[in-house]
């Protein structure tokens, strides 16, 4: 059963001139898919992720999440669906500034389908990402790389069906970038799906399905 489907999605921005980052894009994401989307900077990869995650409405086409046409859902239903099914890693580091790392993860857990905190799962994930000794730190006390890993931890903590990762290996050295990709692979192995946007071929190679976005079109790479 598919997790997400984009049908003939188009998105246009007016920024002095008309920019069409997505033109008639079709993409089906099934459980166990590890998808990477490459492409040069500013080509629309993040736009693709925002549309896939239902954070940005397409001008044309349909988006199905969990087999539901999102255009038919209310904002409340869509927000609940996002909380339960999707884990986001944004390009800009984005954590709740008033909460410690541990609390950020607990907050995310409380929003998920389990709706209760599992301290052991948090501890294990933080240990895995080399953040165990930083769990009581506020986001501003973390380095750029640590914040990036913290965002990955937040996206993974609820074991969502779909992880949308926008340049998740930015700011990371090879060791931690590899660990993130390995965690994605494990999530995929457990039946989840990952869409990872990157401009770095090195990490795109870790995905089983590779696309390239150029001129608004999504092309499957061999």
């Amino acid at each position: 059963m598919e997790i997400c489907r984009l049908e003939n999605i188009s998105k246009t921005y007016m920024m002095g001139e008309e920019i069409c980052p997505l033109q008639d894009v079709n993409l089906t994401i099934n459980p166990g898919d590890f998808i990477s989307v490459e492409g040069p900077s500013g080509i629309g990869k993040s736009t693709l992720l925002y549309v896939t995650g239902s954070l940005l409405e397409a001008d044309e086409g349909r988006l199905y999440l969990d087999n539901q046409d999102v255009s038919l859902l209310t904002d409340r239903q869509l927000t609940a669906l996002r909380a339960e099914k999707i884990g986001f890693i944004f390009q800009e580091t984005n954590l709740i500034q008033a909460l410690t790392l541990q609390e950020n993860l607990e907050f995310a857990q409380a929003l998920g389908k389990v709706c209760k905190t599992d301290s052991q799962a948090i501890a294990a994930l933080l240990e895995r990402l080399g953040l165990a000794d930083r769990k009581d730190f506020l986001p501003y006390q973390l380095s750029g790389g640590q914040r990036r890993r913290a965002m990955a931890a937040r996206a993974l903590i609820n074991h969502p069906s779909l992880i949308l990762a926008d340049e998740p290996t930015n700011d990371l050295d090879d060791v931690w970038a590899n660990e993130i990709v390995r965690l994605f692979a494990e999530a995929v192995a457990k039946g989840g799906a990952v869409v990872m946007v990157t401009h770095n071929n090195k990490w795109a190679g870790g995905a089983a399905i590779q696309y390239r976005l150029e001129h608004g079109k999504l092309a499957l790479l061999d």
Binding site: D75, A80, F90, E103
Partner: protein
């Protein structure tokens, strides 16, 4: 969500402090104005209920100020012939007429009060003002060496006071009335006359007639169903050299004056509330703008619009409540010295600053602060809740 609101408030310490200070100052002003208003209103009500006399007769206006006589305990050495009592008693509508004789303590006397206090000699045979108080206490009449203190007079040496060089035993304290009675010491009329006659400092008062032949005021109880204002008018018409004032009318006039003054003060208070409201709107707007990216994140990871709305409002409540609490506590703690200054500067009836009044003022202050905070935060909260998550994340990161 409350925890997140609390943490957000604590994390932005300097901004939260500024918001709390604005609220606290506004509520501080409000609590002071409101408390003074309550105390004065209570004073007026008490005066109405407990003055006891429907009409008060004093020497004519050239010699006595009825307003001051009623509402202050300042010495009022005003006298008229005691024959006026008989004349007044004959006026239609007068049921009871009881004379009083005023004299005063002196400053600087040994074991005495450090200030001049009005001494009132009451006539035990005709009195209807003090009797109800006496009946509630353990005595029925005052002996010659006994006095009763007004509600705001304190005994200088335990239960003994020295008045014009004579020691007296304090046998009771009257309930507060909000009137001049509160700052007065009561004793028997003959004892008061004797004290006044023997005080060398007061001899200049008796050149026309000895104190035994004089009274200072006559308190009148009117017959049921008779309008006290009509009785006062008749006395003024038929008894020359005196002025009769219906106490209800006087209190009504004071109430009107106080009402006008209160309106002006409340307009000023309202203006300060409006200024605070606008500055709080500005603060919460800025706060919401700064946090666009974070709010976008919250919406993206599954926080509902109404939860964002509640989050912003909760933060406003936390700051407003804290500001309200601080302002109320500070305001309440300043009331006693402020009332003292006001009472010294103005002649006005005043009630008592009690725990109940403090709770009423402080509680209203806190409630007002929360309402003010809510009103100021509603628009920013609504705007934040309606943010498009993607736009908030991308633009919020840039702004």
């Amino acid at each position: 969500m409350w925890y997140l609101a609390w943490r957000n408030t604590v994390r932005r310490r300097s901004q939260s402090m500024l918001t709390i200070i604005i609220t606290a100052l506004t509520i501080f002003t409000f609590v002071i104005v409101f408390s003074v208003f309550l105390i004065v209103q209570e004073g007026l009500s008490l005066s109405n209920q407990r003055l006891g006399a429907d009409v008060i007769v004093l020497p004519d206006e050239a010699r006595a100020d009825a307003y001051e006589t009623l509402f202050t305990g300042d010495p009022a050495n005003v006298y008229m012939s005691k024959s006026v009592v008989a004349g007044v008693s004959k006026i239609e509508g007068v049921e009871q007429a009881s004379p009083q004789f005023f004299t005063q303590t002196l400053t600087g006397g040994c074991c005495s009060y450090g200030e001049e206090i009005r001494l009132v000699g009451y006539d035990e045979k005709t009195d209807f003002i003090l009797k109800p108080y006496f009946n509630q206490q353990a005595f029925t009449r005052l002996e010659d060496d006994q006095v009763v203190l007004g509600g705001k007079v304190e005994a200088a040496l335990g239960n003994i006071v020295a008045l014009l060089g004579e020691p007296f035993k304090v046998v009771g304290t009257l309930y507060p009335t909000g009137s001049g009675m509160d700052g007065t010491i009561y004793l028997n009329i003959d004892v008061a006359r004797k004290l006044a006659k023997n005080a060398p400092e007061l001899q200049y008062l008796w050149s026309a007639a000895p104190p035994e032949e004089q009274v200072s005021s006559i308190l009148i109880k009117t017959t049921n169903g008779v309008n006290p204002s009509n009785v006062a008018a008749s006395i003024n018409q038929f008894c020359p050299g005196v002025q009769a004032v219906a106490t209800g009318e006087t209190i009504k006039n004071v109430r009107t004056q106080m009402g006008t003054m209160s309106k002006v003060i409340f307009v000023l208070c309202l203006s300060s509330l409006m200024i605070a409201a606008f500055s709080l709107v500005g603060r919460f707007n800025a706060l919401a703008r700064e946090r666009k990216k974070e709010i976008g994140l919250l919406r993206a990871i599954g926080i509902q619009k109404n939860q964002v709305f509640r989050l912003i409002l909760s933060e406003a409540w936390i700051m407003a409540f804290t500001g309200g609490l601080v302002g109320s506590v500070l305001g309440c703690s300043c009331i006693i010295p402020i009332m003292k200054v006001l009472e010294d500067a103005f002649t006005m009836p005043s009630g008592f600053w009690t725990l109940a009044t403090a709770l009423k003022s402080g509680g209203t202050g806190i409630l007002l602060a929360v309402l003010l905070g809510s009103a100021a935060a509603i628009y920013p909260a609504w705007k934040s809740a309606g943010l498009d998550p993607q736009e908030a994340i991308t633009r919020g990161a840039l702004e």
